[in-house]
């Protein structure tokens, strides 16, 4: 009798042990259905195109076992996408593609109640560098020429760009503050219009991404007069940075990366971190960075949280000084 009890004990403890073994195995998360990737722009917008490229590359490099499906939640800057992610609290098969707008939009828009700190950051993938460009036949050969002209004729020169809370305008504001020059920022909703107005001579300058500028320079339509980065860009070795030209202003980063809804289990975060660690080492990703002339901005964990915190502080300051209404 005693023996049988002993046996039973053995069997049960064995079951329990194997059970925990199973449990430990289940803890390594693996998606079981397509991943929903939320972006804040409509089809064709910057974030949409980036997300689709990543989804495609991941499939090609076989970094994830499931398909990644891009879901467009446009509206309210980034507010609709962000609150959609909050609704998906704890969902293990949803991720979001953030950009700098996800940090600045809640600062200036009262109706955008979700902050990036309400979500679960996973990785930052790229930093998009930018350059300051003028038309090819423009008299301004350096940033100094442009600033001097802007000082001589305040508010006569014009720069085309997007929303006033976007990077283009923030760059102008920090340069204006550092140099005392003043020029006008004219908003155009689409990138096409910004370039068309520069090439048509309706505005004098614009902030543009190096890849895009490269083609227009090759065709003899555009000239780049400053790199808006810490170091010179490999594609424009002869174009000095703002700092080299004596304008010491903070670099305003344009970051892109991935985050998850609030309250997702730790395993899911670990899973995504692992996926992207492998992904950023792949040849396809390296080639993509080079083609688009993006800067590798890989960052995760506490460093990423710190990046968001510092960015929010910096942006609040820049926006306030710019006279924008900061609501948070």
């Amino acid at each position: 009798m005693k023996r049988s009890w002993y046996c039973l004990l053995l069997i049960t403890s064995g079951l329990v042990l194997s059970g925990t073994g199973d449990f430990a195995h289940a803890a390594a998360f693996e998606p079981t259905k397509p991943i929903e990737a939320v972006v804040h722009t409509g089809p064709g917008g910057g974030s949409d195109i980036f997300a689709r490229a990543i989804a495609e590359l991941m499939q090609k490099e076989k970094t994830i076992s499931q398909r990644m499906q891009v879901v467009n939640k446009s509206g309210g800057g980034s507010a609709v996408a962000m609150s959609y992610l909050v609704e998906k609290k704890g969902d293990t098969h949803t991720i979001g593609f953030f950009t700098g707008v996800w940090v600045t939009n809640p600062l200036t828009t009262a109706a955008a109640k979700v902050m990036i700190s309400d979500l679960t950051p996973i990785v930052r993938l790229v930093l998009e560098p930018a350059v300051f460009a003028v038309k090819a036949d423009s008299p301004y050969k350096t940033m100094k020429d442009f600033i001097d002209a802007a000082k001589r004729n305040p508010n006569q020169l014009k720069q085309s760009g997007g929303s006033i809370t976007g990077r283009d305008n923030l760059v102008r504001l920090v340069i204006e503050k550092a140099t005392g020059a003043k020029w006008v920022f004219v908003s155009f909703p689409s990138g096409g219009e910004r370039i068309a107005n520069l090439l048509g001579g309706h505005v004098d300058a614009m902030v543009i991404e190096p890849q895009e500028a490269g083609e227009h320079i090759k065709a003899g339509n555009m000239r780049v007069i400053a790199a808006l980065t810490d170091k010179r860009l490999p594609s424009f070795p002869n174009v000095p940075t703002l700092k080299e030209q004596g304008i010491d202003v903070p670099v305003i980063p344009q970051a892109r990366g991935i985050l998850a809804p609030p309250g997702v289990p730790k395993e899911v975060i670990l899973y995504w971190e692992g996926v992207f660690e492998r992904f950023v080492k792949s040849a396809g990703w390296k080639q993509y960075l080079e083609q688009n002339q993006f800067e590798d901005g890989y960052l995760k964990g506490p460093a990423l949280n710190k990046f968001f915190d510092e960015l929010a502080v910096k942006m609040r300051e820049v926006l306030k000084e710019a006279g924008a209404k900061v609501v948070r």
Partner: protein, 503 residues
């Protein structure tokens, strides 16, 4: 001569069996997407993008472009049959197209829209082929003041859309302008008329308003009068389902007008096909011998906007392929596709990738023929939809409207808005307010306000910038002429009456 050798190169690319197949796939998908309201070409191209990575790049761009111009063919179908505008550019087609359907002429309306699409689509491609670089350079002369003048010119089309009462037309237009103002102001990042609703921060989608005011209101008005089961007369026999020779003759000018206006507006990156279709409808009515009949089912009123809508595609590809500047959402995705494939779109594309460019241009000729062949036989088939009894047809229309609106941004909020605009549309019908001016105001309001404020920022607040630049001054003068014309006519008819009374 050079164009000819290039075209030969293009056809040698476009006519390979593989490329012909993908061209057909593209235009077929485009037609389907065009018929379904809500789901637009931009979303479709984005969805299919992953498929193209494994394809040959030329074949892929041929297919994606096929979706883009193919969707313009299908857009008119639901406008004519059900008063549900499939795309924003087919709102104008509802005006005369749906009236034609009510009179039992759905077949000719659908037929002429396919033919006009074919003619103008082909003209657009010819324009793209022959005059792309100079036209693109000309388009660069359009700065904010010119866009403002163009939008003002567009707004004067209200004169042709107002119907019986000009005051009611203007009021409807003002409501449209106000609706366009809802959302986040681009220049100050301030929210306007959003009443704390996050969903309104990006403004009200045009599709929601137009489907609400046209389709939902139509259903409501018709449900009120519980008439017989047979709704429309649909004549039997293929002869009555196709446009007659006289119809084609009547549309000569409409084909030309639609082609030219569509192409030129398409070239401008900030304008778009909706403006093109309104302008060509206005031009058609202005030069018509019987302008008073427009809005009652005149075949030119279908041919002109449908032509403009299709010719615009050729125009929109001009800045994309010659300057690397996308003019619309759909072309922005085409641009992104090129970049993802490792092709650098931009001013040098034609030089660096002649086979791709000319292959695409040639495939568009082929694609337009395919679309005509594909769409004309469907006409008698689609016309039969109107035989469906009302207790099936009306719930069907409502269903299509709701699904279409929901598919725009997968938002239930938009569906509630659809109901709201349906009620507004119903009230407007009851009070005899025309719907088209409201839509016109809404389409143009956003761009017009923006262009005006951009102009004023550039000129430091001096309005003179709009009249001192030759291009914008010309367009403003034209707009004034259009506004004054009806007044002159009124005075003249008043005088005639006075003379008659004297006698």
């Amino acid at each position: 001569m050079e164009a000819l050798t290039n075209l030969l190169l293009g056809f040698s690319v476009a006519l390979t069996p593989g490329n012909l197949f993908w061209c057909f796939v593209g235009v077929f998908l485009g037609t389907v997407v065009g018929i379904l309201p809500g789901l637009g070409p931009a979303a479709t191209i984005a969805m299919l993008l992953p498929l193209t990575f494994k394809m040959d790049h030329t074949a892929a761009i041929i297919m994606l472009a096929g979706i883009y111009y193919g969707s313009k063919y299908g857009g008119s179908t639901t406008s004519i049959l059900l008063n549900v505008p499939g795309e924003s550019a087919s709102v104008v087609t509802c005006l005369d197209g749906y009236q034609m359907a009510r009179q039992g002429r759905a077949g000719p309306a659908l037929g002429i829209s396919a033919i006009a699409s074919f003619v103008a689509g082909t003209v657009g491609v010819i324009g793209l082929m022959l005059i792309a670089p100079p036209v693109a350079r000309f388009a660069l002369r359009f700065g904010p003041p010119e866009y403002f003048a163009l939008m003002v010119l567009g707004l004067t089309m209200v004169v042709f859309l107002a119907g019986r009462s000009m005051i009611k037309g203007l009021l409807a237009m003002l409501v449209g302008l106000w609706l366009a103002g809802v959302g986040t102001d681009l220049f100050t990042a301030e929210s306007r008329f959003t009443f704390g609703h996050m969903e309104l921060l990006d403004g009200i989608d045009f599709v929601v308003v137009s489907i609400g005011i046209f389709a939902v209101a139509e259903v409501m008005v018709n449900m009120e009068s519980r008439g017989g089961a047979e709704l429309f007369r649909v004549p039997r026999g293929i002869r009555n389902l196709m446009p007659t020779l006289k119809d084609l003759k009547d549309c000569r000018f409409a084909f030309l007008n639609g082609s030219v206006i569509g192409f030129l507006i398409g070239v401008l990156p900030g304008a778009g096909s909706t403006i093109a279709s309104f302008l060509s409808y206005g031009a058609e009515k202005a030069f018509s011998r019987y302008p008073e009949k427009f809005g009652t089912g005149v075949i030119e009123g279908v041919a002109a906007p449908e032509g403009a809508n299709n010719s615009e595609t050729g125009g929109a590809l001009v800045p994309l392929l010659t300057l690397g500047i996308p003019g619309s959402n759909a072309t922005a995705i085409l641009l992104a596709a090129l970049i993802l494939w490792g092709i650098k779109p931009g001013p040098l594309l034609i030089q660096d990738h002649p086979a791709l460019f000319w292959g695409l241009v040639s495939s568009m000729y082929v694609g337009n023929v395919m679309l005509l062949v594909l769409n004309l036989p469907l006409v008698p088939l689609f016309a039969q939809i109107l035989r469906v009894p009302y207790f099936i047809l009306y719930p069907g229309i409502l269903g299509i409207s709701v699904v279409g609106v929901y598919s725009v941004s997968n938002s239930l909020f938009d569906v509630w808005m659809l109901g709201l605009f349906g009620i507004l549309g119903y009230a407007m019908r009851k009070l005899d307010f025309p719907a088209a001016p409201l839509v016109l105001g809404m389409v143009l309001g956003d761009g017009m306000e923006r262009a005006l404020r951009q102009s004023l920022m550039m000129s430091q607040g001096h309005l003179s910038v709009i009249v001192t630049r030759p291009l914008s001054a010309t367009m403003i003068c034209l707009a004034l002429a259009i506004l004054i014309m009806p007044l002159v006519n009124k005075v003249r008819s008043f005088r005639l009456k006075a003379v008659e009374q004297d006698v």
